[in-house]
């Protein structure tokens, strides 16, 4: 190897080293570098090893769907509304992907998670029109139709939770308007 080449490589190595040191010095504060703790000298009892962390298995909770209700806000319309106090489900350590609500087998509500570990739906966000039904339609005197519901939830590890139930509505039918008979 010629002397010129050797000198070139030597200066190149020194320059590269300087560049590397400069880069590390610049990056250290960004990386949150801390000075290394002082190593105790011989004769000191070493600190015990940290406990082995417990194995965390993914989990999804039961769905909380208290007080399913069927209310008749205006008598004589035949229109009832189903609602709940609230709907709630949680996952750990995963995200909740969705919670869906079906009434009488028909999907009526879809609640989707957005980087969240639980889904909470207040009653105002779960308010669904159903038919009240005629008196005794579900076998209970004074009450109308019975509507079944299914609440399903899924988390990001594909664990699922579901609630099945039914609610009986108050009986009501639309009032009939009898027009007067007018003679010509």
């Amino acid at each position: 190897m010629s002397l010129t080449m050797r000198n070139s490589l030597l200066i190149l190595a020194i320059a590269a080293g300087l560049l590397l040191a400069w880069g590390v010095a610049r990056a250290a504060p960004l990386l949150g570098a801390r000075p290394a703790p002082a190593v105790p000298s011989g004769g000191v009892t070493p600190t015990p090893l940290p406990e082995k962390p417990a194995v965390q298995s993914p989990d999804i909770s039961f769905i909380d769907s208290p007080s399913p209700a069927c209310v008749l806000p205006r008598a004589g319309t035949g229109v009832c509304y189903m609602t709940w106090s609230y709907l709630y489900v949680a996952a750990s350590p995963n995200y909740m992907i969705s919670m869906t609500l079906a009434i009488d087998g028909k999907m009526r509500g879809n609640y989707m998670g957005f980087f969240q570990q639980n889904i909470y739906v207040p009653s105002e966000m779960a308010w669904f029109k159903v038919a009240c039904g005629e008196n005794g339609a579900s076998g209970t005197p004074g009450m109308g139709l019975s509507h079944s519901f299914t609440v399903r939830a899924r988390d990001s590890s594909n664990l699922k939770s579901a609630n099945y139930g039914s609610v009986v509505c108050p009986a009501d039918a639309p009032r009939r308007l009898y027009m007067p008979m007018l003679r010509k």
């Binding site: 200066i11 105002e124 029109k129």
Partner: protein
């Protein structure tokens, strides 16, 4: 001395090239959905949230542990069909929330991609903004759509949304996602 001239020139050339490469690499910062410089982003099942800056200058002072604007919190995007006899669904969020520090929040907008902007919340000398569901109790009315029309066999139409917040220091935070509605099956 003349013997050292060529090695010094070579080393200088190398250093010049190295600095040039570093400069180009810094200029190639990732850009966000709205074209700004991407500072932080997360994705999950088709949802995306990100924090962007208008230019590269913010990259120098940005600390992801103490961001000047946070991710927008927009939990539980809902699409409900109150009346199964109507092709009417309503989209709403449990709440929308965003905060900035030490700057102010200038605005937060909600955009349904098929329709355009549907809400604009303006800051008024405030560092955080909280919009509960009952500020718009009905939600945003959309067509439920036919079964499978949004690509999910058990649901109807899917609607893409963008929630974007802007702070007084120019940083932006945005959430992108899609909500599927129950299908209208007459």
């Amino acid at each position: 001395m003349r013997k050292l001239l060529i090695p010094v020139l070579l080393a200088g050339l190398f250093l010049f090239a190295a600095f040039g490469a570093l400069h180009i690499a810094r200029g190639q910062a990732r850009s966000g959905q709205d074209g700004g410089v991407l500072l932080q982003a997360e994705t999950q099942e088709g949802n995306l949230r990100e924090i962007t800056a208008p230019d590269n200058a913010a990259l120098e002072s940005y600390n992801p542990d103490q961001p000047q604007i946070g991710f927008i919190d927009s939990p539980t995007v809902a699409c409900v069909q109150p009346d199964p006899a109507k092709n009417e669904c309503f989209i709403n969020w449990y709440y929308l929330s965003v905060s900035a520090d030490p700057s102010y929040i200038i605005s937060m907008t909600v955009r349904l991609n098929d329709f355009g902007y549907v809400a604009n919340y303006s800051g008024f000398f405030q560092q955080s903004m909280y919009v509960p569901y009952n500020m718009n109790p009905l939600g945003y009315k959309v067509a439920c759509g036919a079964l499978g029309s949004g690509g999910k066999p058990q649901l109807g139409m899917g609607y893409g949304f963008t929630i974007r917040a802007r702070a007084s220091d120019g940083l932006s935070s945005a959430n992108f996602g899609t909500v599927h509605c129950p299908a209208y099956t007459p």
